[in-house]
Symmetry: C2
C-alpha cells in the first residue's frame, strides 16, 4: 500500500501538533452538504474546527466525545467560518468515513504522536 510513497524521517512527522480534543459543540453549517462546525476544548484553549463529514455523521455522534486533531495547520475559511485544525478520521476506498473516538480517560490536550 505504501509502494511508491516517499519515506520520511520520524522527526518530519513530529513537527505536526496532534492532540486529543473534546467536542463541546457540534453544528452543521447551513447551506452546505458536508460541513460541520465543532467547538473543541484542548484543555488550555478552545478552537473552532470544521470537518467535512456532515453527510455521514450528525451533531450527536460528535458532541461530548474526544477525538484526535491536528492543530498546527494554516487556518482555512470554509463557508465563511475559519477552521483552526483538522479532525482525524478513518476513510475507506469507497469514501465511507469512520470516527476514531479517543478513550474518555485521556485528558483533553494530551499530545498524540
Amino acid at each position: 500500500m505504501v509502494m511508491g510513497m516517499e519515506l520520511y524521517d520520524v522527526e518530519d512527522f513530529w513537527k505536526f501538533d496532534l492532540r486529543v480534543g473534546f467536542v463541546k459543540e457540534a453544528e452543521k453549517i447551513k447551506r452546505t452538504r458536508k460541513l460541520i462546525k465543532l467547538i473543541v476544548d484542548f484543555g488550555k484553549e478552545e478552537r473552532t474546527i470544521i470537518s467535512g463529514i456532515a453527510d455521514q455523521y450528525n451533531e450527536e455522534e460528535l458532541k461530548g466525545k474526544k477525538f484526535i486533531f491536528v492543530l498546527n495547520l494554516k487556518p482555512k475559511k470554509l463557508s465563511g467560518v475559519e477552521s483552526r485544525g483538522m479532525l482525524i478520521v478513518g476513510e475507506n476506498e469507497e469514501g465511507k468515513v469512520y470516527l476514531i473516538p479517543v478513550p474518555d480517560e485521556i485528558p483533553a490536550g494530551t499530545k498524540v504522536w
Copy 2:
C-alpha cells in the same frame, strides 16, 4: 499550546501514510527496558513495528487490538530488529503513555487522515 509552532498546509500532513493496523503478535525485546516488537496486519501486508512503550504496557494490552500507525517512515533498526512504521499513542507531560485503540469495526488497512 501551539504557540511558536510553525503552521503547515494540510497537504503537507497528508503525505504521511497513516493506517489502522491489527496487532497479531506482541513480544517484549529481551535486554531492553522499553522496546516491544509488534507484528501488525494492515490487510494487504504485514509489518514488524517496534514501539518504546514496554515499560508501561505489556504484550496482552496490545495483542488482538487495532491502533493507528504511520507507515511511510524510513526503516529504523532498534536492538537489531528493523521497525517499519510507528505506533501512534498519547503521552502527557510526565511521560505517561495512553493507548488509543481503534474501534474493532474499522478494517485493518483503513486510511487515517
